[in-house]
Each structure stands twice: as C-alpha cells, then as structure tokens.
C-alpha cells in the first residue's frame, strides 16, 4: 500500500436470504479511505451503497443478511471479526454515522440534549455537568441557534434541518476519525441542504474527520468529495478522483449517469440523456457485466464474462471490458461519443 489508509474494505460480499431466494446486495466490493479524506459513494437505489457501509458499523441485519466474505480493516483490526462489545466501543466514538431520515432516527421520548449526552457518557467518564456543557457546545458547533434552550427540547419541537444538525452533533460528539453520512440531506430542502453541507465542510477542516458520503446527487458530490466510487448492481464499477470522474468518466454508466442529470449551468435544449431499462434484479444476476443490457457499447464478451478491474494511477480503477486490449476500437468510439469536457 502506498498510503496508510484509515479504513480498508476488501472483497466484501453480502447477501440477504429472502423468501424468493438469496439476493446478493453487495459483491466483491473494496474501497479505502485515507485520513481526512471525503469519499463519495454514488449509486442508484439498490446499488448496494448503504448495505456496504452499514457493514462497517456492524449494522447489517443478520439474519436475513449474511456476510459471505470480506475484511474491513480499521486500525489493525478486522471490524467483521469483533464481537458486539468490542464493536460498541468503536461505534459512535471512532466511527459514527448520520442517517438519511432525521425524523425517525432520533428518539422522540428523549430531549435532544440527553441524546447527545448519552453518547458522551457511553464512551467517556464525563460528569453530568460536563456532558451538559459539552452538549451545548456541540449544538453551537453544528449551528443550532440558542443551544441552551434547544438542549431541553424534544425532537418534535425541531425542524427537519435542526434534527439533522442534532444527528451530526451526536456523530461528532466524540471526535470520530470517520463519519459515515448516508444521504444526510435527501429528506431536506435545498436551502437547508446547502446550510448542512457548508457546516460539514467546516467541521471537516476543523477536526480532520474523514467522511464517507453516500448519495445519489452528483451536484452535492462535486462540492465536497475528494474521491468518488460509483456503484451499480452491488459492485463498484468505477472509482477515481472527483475531477476525473466528472470530466473523464471511464465507465459508460458513469458517463451516461452524468448526462442524465440536468444542471442549472447547462445550456438549453440539450436533450436529456436517458439510460434505457432498469438495473438488474439482484436475485439472479445474469453472467457478464451487470450493466451490459443498458450499455451503449456492449460487446459480445460483456454478456458472457464478468470484467476485471483495470487499475490506473491516482488510485483509480474501472470495471469494464472496454479497457481490454482487444476492445480498442470500441473504446475509441466511446471516447469520441462521450466527449471530454
């Protein structure tokens, strides 16, 4: 390894046993996270982005879930091998999580102050007075006005944006090394979303917290991420630095996904690119590349054999047959059509 990674996920495969059969939600996924880095995991619903990150904190429901293979290395420990007790020392202290829906992830019967203090008492030996002060300090840090008043309020007294700030305060309470934010602003309005991301960027620079951001919004990713991993049908199909992903997407899926989102900066009358069809049903994944059916550059081999990763410089990689030496002409065709911005 060139760089010391804070977190290393290797060869992770997770499947769920359902009444219709075994669904492989995440297949041979690996990604790593450096210190203070922001990794965005982008993908559509069902692509496995949430499932793969939930496994980091041991949140995979087992059963019906089953971790078939893989390693999650964090500080010389494999998180998948730890027992519940050891795990609970890491959760909320060294790695924490912010969930999508702040309306349901807070306890409605406890004041928000107590919910922040709960995590402080769990991992430190603060006195009650200290934790109260710290809770107020944390709430100020995440931009909640009048924190002295707000600590005594219940979640229903706060707006959605405020609740998400409380969630972030809880996640930041013990100065974690890693914060996993699973679609933190999807349930919120754009103006609130931009407030939250401004605050997250500040926190990141202030405390050097590494962030794994799970999202489907390419706009949000452009502003905050250092690196991007694109997931499709349970696999990481492309990974790279943020500029490379946007300006030189290597996988046809990434390229067409980027063109499927209209942007306010776009010129008019550009017809919206669509990707025909739907993602494959993960119950019985056909052989070959999972994107083959929807791809504009499908070759015979795409439908028969699963591609291999091509590793390139800057820690980037792509999962596509176009980069095989025999597919040079098709690759030229792809490069020509997708154009370089």
């Amino acid at each position: 390894m060139k760089k010391t990674n804070l977190l290393d996920v290797q060869n992770l495969t997770i499947s769920f046993h359902t009444y219709i059969g075994e669904v492989t939600a995440v297949q041979e996924v690996d990604f790593s996270l450096g210190k203070g880095e922001v990794l965005a995991i982008v993908g559509e619903s069902g692509s496995g982005k949430s499932v793969s990150t939930q496994a980091i904190l041991g949140l995979t429901p087992i059963p019906p879930g089953e971790i078939k293979s893989g390693q999650i290395n964090f500080k010389d420990k494999d998180l998948l091998k730890l027992n519940t007790k050891e795990m609970s020392k890491i959760c909320g202290a060294q790695i924490s999580m912010v969930f999508q829906d702040p309306m349901t992830s807070l306890n409605p019967t406890m004041t928000v102050g107590n919910q922040i203090r709960e995590i402080l008492h769990q991992h430190t030996d603060m006195s009650r007075k200290q934790s109260r002060e710290r809770a107020i300090e944390l709430m100020g840090l995440v931009g909640i006005p009048e924190p002295e008043v707000r600590v005594r309020q219940y979640p229903h007294e706060l707006s959605g944006g405020m609740k998400q700030r409380v969630m972030i305060a809880i996640a930041m309470a013990n100065r974690p090394d890693i914060m996993i934010a699973d679609e933190p602003t999807t349930a919120l309005d754009v103006t609130i979303q931009s407030q939250i991301f401004r605050m997250l960027k500040e926190l990141k620079t202030k405390f050097g917290t590494a962030i794994i951001l799970i999202t489907h919004d390419f706009g949000v990713v452009a502003g905050i991420a250092d690196r991007v991993a694109v997931m499709y049908a349970g696999r990481v199909i492309e990974e790279g630095e943020v500029n490379q992903i946007y300006y030189q997407p290597r996988h046809p899926y990434t390229a067409s996904l980027l063109k499927a989102v209209p942007s306010l900066a776009d010129n008019e009358d550009q017809k919206l690119r669509t990707i025909d069809g739907t993602p494959p049903f993960l119950l019985n994944i056909p052989p070959g590349c999972p994107f083959a059916d929807r791809c504009d550059y499908t070759m015979q081999i795409c439908k028969e054999k699963i591609p291999k990763y091509l590793y390139l410089k800057n820690n980037s990689r792509v999962f596509c047959w176009l980069y095989h030496k025999k597919a040079l002409r098709q690759l030229e065709h792809f490069k020509e059509r997708e154009g370089r911005v």
Partner: protein, 320 residues
C-alpha cells in the same frame, strides 16, 4: 399571438382550520393563468403550499376563497354535466407510484377505471384503449393482467401516466412525478411527458422541488414561498435573472454537478428556516429571512409587480 388560457386561478385561498383556532394559510391569494400547450413549473420548498395549490385546482380541496376557472368556467359553479367533463379533462399524476396505484387492481382495471367511470366505450374498446395506452407509455401489452407490485418505480409511474391519459385529458397536474425515482429513470419519465405533450397538445402544471428538472421541462416557472407566489417568469428569464431575494437564494443554493463550477459557485446564503405557517405574517412573508428587509415590507400588499418581459415579482424592492 394571443394565447388561449386553459386554467385561470384567481385570488385563490385555501386555509386549513385546525384545533385551538389556529389557521394554516396553505395557499394565500394566488393568481396564475396557464396557457394552452405550455408547461407551467411550480417550485418551492416543502410546506410552501405547492401541492395544496395543485390539489385545489383539481378540485380535491374546496377553495376557501377565490376561483379556479377551467376553459372559461368556474369549477365551483359548474353543473353536473360540466363537472363531468372537467373531471375528465383535468387529470393528475402523483408523486409516489407505490401508494397511488391500488395494489389489488390489475393493470387493465387501473388504466380503464376512468373510462368505466365516465362510461366511455364498451368493454372491448376499453381493453383496446388500455393496450394502446400501455404501448404509448412504453410498456408491453402483456402486462395487462399484472398487478402493481410486479413493476418497478419507473414502470409504475408510466402506469400512472397511462391511467391519466386514457380518458383523453387536456390538462395534467403532475405533482412531483419524478422525485421518488432514480436519476437514470427520471430522465425517461420526463422525456416521455415531453413526447406526450407534443403528440396530444397537453398542458402541464409541473410541481417539483428539483429546480434543475423544472428548468429543463417548463415553459414558465412560478416560485412559491409560504403559500404565496413570489415570482413568476419565463424559464430562461427566471433562471438568468431572478429578482426576488428568495428565488436568488434558492437558485444559488443548488449544487452544480461539475466540480470546477461547483467550487466557484457563489452562494447567497439564507439563514434560518421557514417560519411556522401557523403564524400569520403581515406584509411580506419572506421578511424574517431577507437581508434587504425594510420597514415598508410590513405593509407590502399581495401584488405581483410586472417588471417587463413577462416577469412578475412580489417584493417591495421593485415598487415605484
């Protein structure tokens, strides 16, 4: 060219009366004219009343005050016959295709329900119509005996469109039709809506909170804030030249999917959150968060000011 109005909304108000004498001003004094063949985009943050406005136009809610005029007739004064034709010609597509389709009805029944209610055609012609509609929205006719749970989100939204189109409407209210769908599917549905509009000369009221999508699909755009229409303009004018401080802030807070441009994006931040809609704010509703607030804002009337080029704004900064 004189454009023909299809829907006129005049001083429309919809208040909800809650316990403890509280009144929620969901839609407050809104005037909109929608012309034949256009797509009118309606944007705003959650709770601003855009869905209530859509539902009041469709007649699902009875307006507290004001009028909705469809093809020259006030819908609250229509007789039975006109009402039937109104119900037929104005259709609605809802946000969540998982809850808007009855899970116990087959595709055939779902799509032909409107035909049956309005007694259009025989059983046989109805079935033909269903097949025709399915093909139109890009589904295979074999699906006719299937149930909604067998379809993906995008396919369900196509079904909802087929259902709305079956009765031959002129005006369709699309209430966040794509926000529950994945990005790669959103484009499919938006392109389908565009195609159908060209084919049948439909008029849309497109309600959404995704401004980039609204910019893509609309002819004119209205911006709502706390039950009021604060700005209205042609889409290019509005996105290039927003006048209301709220619209300016709203537009500037949208992330751009392009890292270089995104890093350069200048944001006009608005601090704070939307005040509770239960408190009646006199004058301008945005004054609590506006940085240009002046004492006159307390006395602002609900009047859209024409600043030329079909651009209307409700703000004291543009009063003479």
């Amino acid at each position: 060219m004189m454009k023909e109005k299809i829907v006129e909304v005049k001083k429309l108000k919809k208040y909800f009366y809650l316990s403890g004498n509280r009144v929620l001003h969901a839609v407050d004094n809104i005037n909109i004219d929608i012309y034949k063949g256009e797509t009118f985009g309606l944007v705003g943050e959650s709770g601003c009343g855009k869905s209530t406005l859509g539902r009041t136009i469709k007649g699902i809610y009875k307006p507290t005050n004001g009028q909705v005029i469809f093809e020259g007739k006030d819908i609250s004064r229509m007789d039975k016959k006109d009402m039937r034709s109104f119900m037929l010609h104005m259709q609605m597509i809802f946000q969540d295709p998982y809850s808007s389709l009855n899970p116990r009805m087959m595709v055939k029944e779902l799509v032909s329900e409107g035909l049956e209610i309005h007694k259009i055609g025989t059983k046989k012609t109805q079935e033909q119509k269903v097949i025709e509609m399915l093909e139109l929205v890009g589904l295979t006719p074999e699906y006719i005996t299937r149930y909604p749970h067998e379809f993906s989100g995008g396919q369900r939204q196509r079904l909802a469109i087929a259902r709305a189109l079956a009765v031959g409407p002129k005006f369709i209210i699309c209430d966040e039709p794509i926000s529950a769908l994945d990005v790669s599917i959103q484009g499919q549905i938006v392109n389908l809506l565009n195609e159908l509009q060209n084919k049948f000369g439909l008029t849309y009221l497109f309600i959404a909170h995704d401004l980039s999508m609204v910019k893509y699909i609309s002819t004119r755009v209205g911006v709502m804030y706390m039950g009021k229409l604060v700005e209205l303009a042609g889409k290019e004018e509005l996105f290039k030249n927003p006048k209301h401080p709220y619209t300016q802030a709203l537009l500037s807070s949208i992330p751009i999917p392009n890292p270089r441009k995104e890093r350069e994006r200048k944001e006009i931040p608005i601090e704070g959150e939307i005040p509770s809609p239960l408190n009646k704010i006199t004058g301008c509703t945005f004054k609590t968060r506006c940085k240009f607030v002046k004492p006159v804002c307390d006395y602002m009337e609900d009047q859209l000011i024409n600043i030329g080029n079909g651009h209307f704004v409700m703000c004291t900064r543009y009063c003479e």
